[in-house]
């Protein structure tokens, strides 16, 4: 909503400047987003009469005009305007005057003749109008010497309001904002005068009756028929105000509808009577699929719950949203049907939203216009049209009212204690009442500490006691409410072991050189191809977005790693090939039966370039798992196709002690890495934090270390390559029993001396007990390990 200041001050006084007004309104909840002063500094432009016109000595289209501006003096200007004629009253910017935009006038030669400033067209002094029309002909109520800056509000600031839905209802008009100002100052409102449109002494050529066949969507429909309407423009001041308010002037008739809409918030529509058919006008539901071409030239396809304005034969407008092209007012329109109506707000909001058509009318109807101003607005508009372009009311086609018209304002009770309790300020009911009265509510006492409040017609947003509490609070002033800390018991405790696990995993990852990423959970279906997921793969079972805006918003992620790989690719494209990222976040798994998806939280990492190897990624996963206190884990080679985005020979499931899959780790399949734009090798891992944290014991316990000496024995063996190191360690641990405290691999060797398809593994075994072990005790245990390796794995011992 744009509010030209001069228009507002016509209805109410404000003691300060525009800045303080903006601040005060904002403090009231009527947020002033900006104060525009496009023509600040404009000065010295006066009305002047052309008293003599002579041709320019050098010919051409230029003329010399002698201007007479009363007490503002006289002067000679050179003008090339087409409409220069003696007697015309025009704007004159003499030397020293400043035009909107800052240009300062001076005496200067135009083709050899000195011009004392210039005579101006409308656009040159910031008014709406076409430069080609020539000098602006000033209205007759102005005289030579009048200051046009004041008279035409040339430097008037505009308040730009950003209205919230509750205040939007009554503040989408100058009158509504004036009411808020009056409530602030306690000053009087100067309401526009009661209208009394003249009757046209012409025969009506068309008489329509009004019919509402959708009484739930249309509460009132008034149609006035006007005849003898002229074709000229609205007065320049009106055009100026409309333009400042953001509405393009379009001739007196349409300008009058817009002027009244801005003035009191009631949208109006004018139809060319020549185009209305069938002797009837009113509101009905659209037929499913009905098509109408609106004023903007667009074909609109309607639905059965949209409301249209229709004559006897066809729709002539989308009710409350936009008129139809078929009945548009033209330059030669002499007879008009003027509509003023009340529509059910929700219906207008629904249609406007569906059509994507937020018009000045629809945004007002959708919030609920003042039901007490519908009739008033129709008459005010008829009066203005008559005043500005002639003619008058030839007939009243009808004024129909239905059940959905809010004829009686609601009555709401306010308890003083309730207001005090919620605001936190000691206010009596009488004080609350005074604030409400200032805002236009009709208040009376209703027992001790209780008020009976009649809501004014323009406050359709107020229906409950809590709404009144809000009105009292904002009238009292939020700024005056003191700051206090609440007492009371502390809140319930908060424990989220999975979140804690995420924090711990993140700290470990950062210590290992990984930086934290935050990637979008919205993924493209294209990810599936990059990840080499075949049709039917479980990871393609994703939560689908029904209304994505772009292809990369089609599904919710099942894994974090694709987002990380994408980020690695992004960094590689920006010359950062070595990169390590991790993320802690939710993934989404569809569930059956319409329940919300599962949202397990995962920890994932991805690394490219240096260090992008299976064992490096696995090391971080191990560290995370171990620090989180989860029990033993096994690493199992995935079955073919289970993890197709990973290197088949360098990937593994991370399997918990109970056989549950905690996640996976591996080098990224070269095709997947390439698809994401990762340069060179990449490794990645992803685990379910909930699963990992579930293995966490109650709390860490201190374990005293043994003071007796440890005995180390080294062991090397050759084995078929297919025997995994994990199995070797398991055999050694089982055979070594309690005395074997630790097994550390220190060498892996393939090649000469070992034989094809075999490798050598070397370990240090540490034996220790709570007493000093004898050599023979250790020998027995170690021999057991050696035997087990030979017997169970076919190891060929080398030392």
């Amino acid at each position: 909503m744009r509010v030209p200041l001069a228009w507002l001050l016509e209805m109410v006084d404000w003691p300060g400047d525009v800045g303080s007004l903006a601040e005060a309104l904002t403090g009231r909840g009527v947020a002033v987003e900006a104060v525009e002063r496009p023509a600040a500094g404009t000065a010295g432009i006066v009305a002047a009469q052309i008293v003599d016109v002579a041709p320019h000595p050098f010919g051409g289209h230029l003329k010399l005009c002698r201007l007479e501006a009363g007490r503002a003096g006289r002067g000679l200007v050179v003008s090339g305007a087409p409409n220069v004629v003696s007697g015309l009253l025009v704007p004159w910017a003499p030397p020293g005057a400043r035009l909107p935009g800052g240009r300062e006038m001076a005496k200067r030669d135009i083709q050899g003749v000195p011009s004392e400033g210039m005579a101006c067209s409308a656009d040159e002094i910031g008014l709406p109008g076409d430069h080609a029309d020539g000098l602006l002909a000033l209205p007759a109520d102005l005289g030579p010497g009048d200051d046009l800056v004041a008279a035409l509000e040339l430097d008037d600031p505009v308040l730009v309001l950003e209205l919230t839905p509750n205040y939007a209802a009554h503040c989408q008009s100058i009158l509504g904002v004036a009411r808020e100002v009056a409530a602030l100052t306690g000053g009087a409102l100067r309401l526009p005068p009661e209208p009394s449109p003249p009757n046209a002494d012409l025969d009506a050529t068309y008489v329509a009756s009004v019919r509402i066949s959708a009484p739930d969507l249309c509460g009132r429909f008034i149609a006035l028929q006007l005849a003898g309407v002229g074709t000229g423009p609205a007065p320049i001041r009106v055009q100026r105000r409309l333009a400042a308010a953001g509405v393009r002037p379009r001739g007196a008739t349409v300008d009058a509808t817009n002027y009244v809409m801005l003035e009191v918030g009631q949208p109006l529509h004018a139809y060319d009577l020549r185009d209305l058919r069938g002797g009837v006008i009113g509101a009905r539901r659209a037929e499913e699929g009905e098509v109408i071409v609106t004023l903007d030239g667009q074909r609109r396809t309607l639905r059965g719950d949209d409301l249209v304005i229709a004559d006897g034969e066809r729709a002539v407008g989308v009710a409350g949203v936009m008129g139809g092209e078929n009945t548009e007012v033209h330059d030669d329109t002499r007879e008009v049907l003027l509509e003023a109506a009340y529509f059910a707000p929700m219906g207008i909001a629904r249609t406007a939203r569906r059509l994507g058509l937020a018009t000045a009318a629809s945004t007002r109807f959708a919030r609920g216009v003042d039901p007490a101003r519908v009739r008033w607005a129709a008459e005010r508009c008829a009066e203005l049209i008559a005043r500005w372009s002639g003619g008058g009311v030839s007939a009243e086609a009808g004024d129909a009212v239905t059940e959905s018209f809010p004829a009686t304002p609601p009555v709401v009770r306010l308890r003083g204690a309730h207001a005090r309790g919620l605001i936190g300020v000691k206010l009596t009911a009488a004080e609350c009442g005074a604030y409400l009265t200032g805002l236009g509510f009709n208040v009376s006492a209703d027992g001790a500490d209780r008020l009976r409040v009649v809501v004014p017609s323009w406050r359709g947003d107020v229906a409950e006691e809590i709404d009144l509490v809000e009105e009292v609070a904002r009238a009292y002033g939020y700024d005056r409410i003191p700051e206090a800390l609440p007492g009371g018991a502390p809140g319930a405790p908060y424990r989220d072991p999975v979140a804690d696990a995420g924090e711990a995993a993140g700290a470990i990852a950062r210590a290992a050189g990984y930086s934290e990423a935050v990637t979008s959970p919205l993924h493209a279906v294209e990810e599936w191809r990059r990840l080499r997921l075949p049709a039917g793969h479980d990871l393609r079972r994703a939560v689908q977005i029904q209304n994505p805006m772009t292809e990369d918003q089609r599904v919710l992620r099942r894994m974090l790693v694709p987002g990380l790989l994408d980020a690695l690719g992004y960094n590689a494209r920006h010359r950062r090939v070595d990169a390590a990222l991790y993320e802690v976040g939710r993934v989404f798994q569809p569930t059956a039966g319409g329940a919300l998806p599962d949202e397990p939280r995962h920890f994932a990492l991805a690394v490219a370039g240096t260090g992008a190897a299976y064992l490096a990624a696995k090391g971080v996963v191990e560290e995370v798992r171990e620090r989180l206190g989860a029990g033993e884990a096994r690493y199992e080679r995935p079955a073919a196709g289970e993890l197709p985005f990973l290197h088949p020979g360098r990937s593994a499931w991370v399997v918990g002690a109970g056989g549950e899959r905690l996640g996976w780790v591996g080098e990224v399949h070269p095709e997947t890495a390439a698809a994401y734009g990762v340069v060179g090798a990449a490794a990645a891992a992803e685990v379910d934090l909930g699963q990992v944290a579930a293995g966490r014991p109650e709390g860490a316990r201190f374990a005293p270390w043994l003071r007796s000496p440890a005995v180390r024995r080294d062991l090397a063996m050759a084995l078929p390559e297919a025997v995994p190191a994990g199995a070797v360690a398991e055999v050694m641990r089982a055979a070594g029993g309690e005395l074997l405290r630790d097994v550390r691999r220190f060498d892996v060797y393939t090649g000469e001396g070992i034989g094809p398809g075999r490798r050598s593994l070397a370990y240090t075994l540490v034996y220790q007990a709570d007493r000093t072990l004898t050599d023979s005790e250790v020998d027995v245990a170690h021999d057991g390990v050696r035997r087990a390796l030979v017997e169970r794995l076919g190891a060929q011992l080398r030392s």
Binding site: G29, P165, I423, P486, A492, A499, R510, G513, Q546
Partner: protein, 344 residues
């Protein structure tokens, strides 16, 4: 028997001068062997003591032992001096350019959103608010209906949503966690929670819009809670986040799930109220929305609005991070450019 007399003084003097002359550890060691060794000069001289007349032997022996101790002391003194010199020389030789850059461990960086997230949770934790959680895929009812946003309400327009089914959507705000937290606790009091989380809106991504962003929501429900408490808690929060001089200003506003509602401004973090480019000259920066929990929302949470009241607030984590770090483009947050991440 004069020729048998031992000139201990001369021996000592000679030993002294030899040790003095030894300029290396090895030289000292050679001198030590020469003088104090098993067949060193002093040992040999002591052996000669036996050849002396019996009356002279005790005095000469005692004198010889004295000289040996003196030379021993001399050797160790000479050794330690040379060791000290050698150490000094080594350290001098090891001098490096201390202005060379340090060899830094490769330590990763926490994402700025996460750092801000943690700070906000910590501050509200200090003020007695525990974290509450809710899913990102939410029911239409909890995201809108239960929050007093019925079908057709303009707020639904402003928060264009991604739907995953007719009744489920990606939450457009963290506010549904208010209902979840109340329902989990009702009728117990108080409810004191904050809910940080990710939210989604069907916005075209640009410098100031993102389809994916983050909010933190707070809720306090108890007996006798008033707007003054709301202002008190938010002011305390603002001081803890932006510094003790920070002031707040609450302006009336509108949210369907609170009434009365407000927008909270803080004194500009950059100019402290003087007016600058960031605050557009106003001296104030808008940081959050707040309000008294709407009676309908209290009811939907399982509480009687005649018995209890409460306030709620919500703010954008991304916005706090933008202000804190001077990040002018929202897209940085989800791009994961290491040139960005490594600055935090």
């Amino acid at each position: 028997m004069d020729d048998l007399a031992i000139d201990w003084a001369a021996l000592k003097e000679q030993a002294e001068s030899e040790l003095e002359a030894a300029s290396s550890l090895q030289g000292v060691e050679e001198a030590r062997v020469r003088w104090l060794g098993r067949s060193g000069r002093i040992a040999l001289a002591l052996r000669d003591v036996g050849k002396l007349p019996a009356a002279e032997r005790p005095a000469a022996g005692a004198r010889g032992n004295e000289v040996r101790a003196e030379v021993e002391a001399l050797v160790s003194e000479r050794l330690s001096r040379l060791e000290a010199e050698a150490l000094h020389a080594r350290l001098a030789a090891e001098t490096i350019d201390v202005t060379l850059p340090g060899e830094r461990p490769q330590v990763g960086h926490a994402h700025p959103l996460h750092q801000v997230w943690r700070d906000l949770v910590r501050i509200f934790g200090e003020l007695g608010f525990a974290v509450a959680d809710g899913p990102e895929v939410e029911t239409d009812w909890l995201n809108f209906g239960a929050l007093n946003i019925p079908e057709g309400h303009p707020t639904r327009d402003a928060q264009d949503s991604f739907f995953v089914s007719d009744t489920q959507l990606l939450r457009t705000q963290t506010s549904p966690v208010q209902i979840r937290a109340m329902q989990a606790l009702a009728p117990a009091l108080p409810v004191r929670v904050v809910a940080p989380g990710r939210v989604y809106r069907r916005d075209t991504t640009d410098a100031t819009h993102s389809a994916v962003f983050h909010q933190i929501e707070g809720l306090l429900v108890d007996r006798g809670i008033a707007m003054s408490h709301m202002k008190g808690v938010i002011a305390e929060f603002a001081r803890r986040l932006y510094g003790p001089e920070t002031k707040i200003r609450v302006r009336p506003s509108y949210f369907p799930f609170t009434e009365p509602s407000g927008e909270v401004d803080v004194t500009c973090v950059f100019c402290h109220g003087a007016g600058c480019r960031i605050c557009k000259g106003t001296g104030w920066i808008e940081i959050m929305g707040c309000g008294m929990v709407h009676p309908v929302v209290l009811k939907n949470g399982g509480y009687d609005p005649e018995e209890v009241s409460g306030f709620a607030w919500g703010m954008g984590i991304d916005r706090v991070a933008q202000l804190r770090y001077g990040i002018d483009d929202l897209r940085h947050f989800l791009q994961n450019d290491l040139r960005f991440l490594e600055q935090f």
